[in-house]
């Protein structure tokens, strides 16, 4: 129910009171259907306080965007999860890009931007497209399958690890490792604790694969290590930057592709529209990223007292950005709860915005585009044929199981 549990007295003159809400955005019931609570958070105030975890929250587009675009005030180097690196030891050595601020971030970011640039996408495009066609052909032959394991997971796993230059052995650690990383941004709930308890073998695998000798020439991993030779980064930095791509490069696209398939299965008029005009494939994927927001939230930490949305936040506070809520804020979007593949999606924050905006966004879009293009050409209908099960993660939104039947075009 839309109750505001208490109102904190205004702390400074001319600033608005910040409502305290009894919302746990990391609870399983919340994950089942976050959208009504997002609306409640947005409508309560531009800035809210969540007593459950003692954090501030922003859920409207304007404030989420403002926080993303002021990295000097809302920093990442104290962690982009709940844990404050100034007070707690991080569960793993911090990321050199995600959990860094300028000027350190500027340098590592430039390296990964080069490795994943539009020019590089042109080189990998045909291979990614051929694999997408083959995957859709295979699934049309099977007819009935699980769209999560057999498509949303299986397709990225058929292209991304090879593009990285990873060995064949041990790839089964990739999804559990990513699940762990994204659970670890959350609070110390069961999801996080259990993931960390089981983390040792996955961490050992990833650490090993990040070494130069284990990465095939020509792949993204080798390209990162090659930047050591130009002096852009040091030798100890390279494996950690490879780790960033292994952490953020697979489970995100799994959930992005899963979101797109789930949308097209639920909204047959949009599938029909896509089949009429397969050139909409790229935007159909982008709109799924807006609509479902595979990455739901990230935190920042304030570096000073700051006023935002008419409210004051002190120094050293955690601020939770509800990206998914910003992407459906009616203050910014027309008919936000509609999946519309012809929407102008530019400006959504599903990939973030500002200096930390997803450095792998072109890879994600490439995978989404080529897969949905193949689907638009070959698949006539998608029917959900069994119980849809949600997968719970502190940061990622997606499904555990989506049984479907494809009918050929």
């Amino acid at each position: 129910m839309a109750t505001i549990d208490s109102i904190q007295g205004a702390t400074g003159s001319g600033t608005n009171a910040i409502p305290h809400l009894d919302v746990d955005p990391f609870a399983l019931e919340f994950f089942d259907d976050p959208f009504p609570t997002h609306a409640r958070l947005r409508d309560a105030a531009p800035v809210v306080y969540l007593d459950k975890w003692n954090v501030f929250g922003v859920a409207r587009y304007a404030e989420v965007h403002a926080v993303l675009h002021d990295p000097a005030t809302f920093c990442s180097s104290r962690g982009v999860g709940l844990s404050d690196f100034a007070k707690e030891t991080p569960w793993r050595p911090p990321s050199l890009i995600l959990e860094a601020d300028p000027p350190a971030h500027t340098r590592t970011r430039a390296v990964l931007s080069r490795v994943l640039s539009p020019a590089v996408m042109k080189q990998i495009r045909d291979h990614f497209a051929a694999n997408a066609e083959a995957k859709i052909d295979e699934l049309l032959e099977r007819r009935s399958f699980d769209a999560i394991s057999d498509l949303a997971e299986s397709y990225p796993l058929s292209v991304f690890p090879d593009a990285m230059g990873l060995k064949k052995e041990g790839r089964e650690h990739l999804l559990p490792y990513a699940g762990l990383v994204f659970n670890a941004f959350g609070p110390p709930n069961a999801l996080r604790q259990e993931a960390i308890e089981r983390s040792a073998p996955h961490q050992a695998y990833v650490q090993e694969q990040c070494q130069r000798d284990n990465l095939a020439p020509g792949g993204f991993g080798a390209c990162i290590h090659a930047q050591v030779d130009t002096g852009a980064i040091t030798a100890p930095e390279a494996p950690l930057l490879v780790r960033s791509l292994l952490s953020a490069g697979i489970d995100t696209t799994v959930n992005g592709i899963g979101a797109a398939i789930y949308c097209l299965a639920r909204f047959p008029d949009q599938l029909a529209r896509l089949r009429q005009d397969p050139a909409l494939a790229r935007n159909a994927f982008e709109e799924a990223v807006r609509f479902e927001s595979p990455v739901q939230t990230f935190f920042r930490t304030t570096t000073r007292d700051v006023e935002i949305g008419g409210s004051r936040i002190g120094e050293g506070e955690k601020v939770l950005m509800f990206l998914a809520s910003a992407n459906r804020d009616p203050r910014r979007w027309d008919n936000p709860d509609q999946y519309d593949i012809t929407r102008r999606t530019s400006g959504h924050v599903g990939f973030g915005s500002g200096i930390h905006m997803c450095v792998g966004q072109l890879v994600a879009r490439l995978e989404g585009e080529v897969l949905l293009t193949a689907l638009a050409r070959k698949v006539g209908g998608i029917e959900i044929t069994g119980p849809v099960k949600r997968r719970y993660n502190n940061t990622l939104r997606g499904l555990e199981s989506l049984p479907v039947t494809f009918t050929p075009a």
């Binding site: 430039a110 640039s117 539009p118 020019a119 042109k122 530019s346 905006m357 966004q361 585009e369």
Partner: protein, 107 residues
Amino acid sequence: MPTITFIQPNNQSRIIEARDGESAMQVATSNGIDEIVAECGGNAMCATCHVYVDEQWIDRLAPMSGDEDALLDGAAAERLPNSRLSCQITMAPELDGLILRLPDRQI
């Protein structure tokens, strides 16, 4: 208010009023110029807001950054000497009358 003339690939042109401080990309996307896709929302990360700046205007724009230069190499349509990213062109009174040609594709 400065105006921008957008010339579409079929040579039709549209003159649009811009606000100072807005990027040429924002002017295009908020006025239904579909040739500007702007997937990254103006963060200089996607190269889908590529334009060809009219020759008489190219030298009057602020010089491009290294990031913009690198991104333009990956633009979908051919890169020409007058290629720029429209999200990196900030409108100001002295740019009144700016002429931008739109490429035939961004992806």
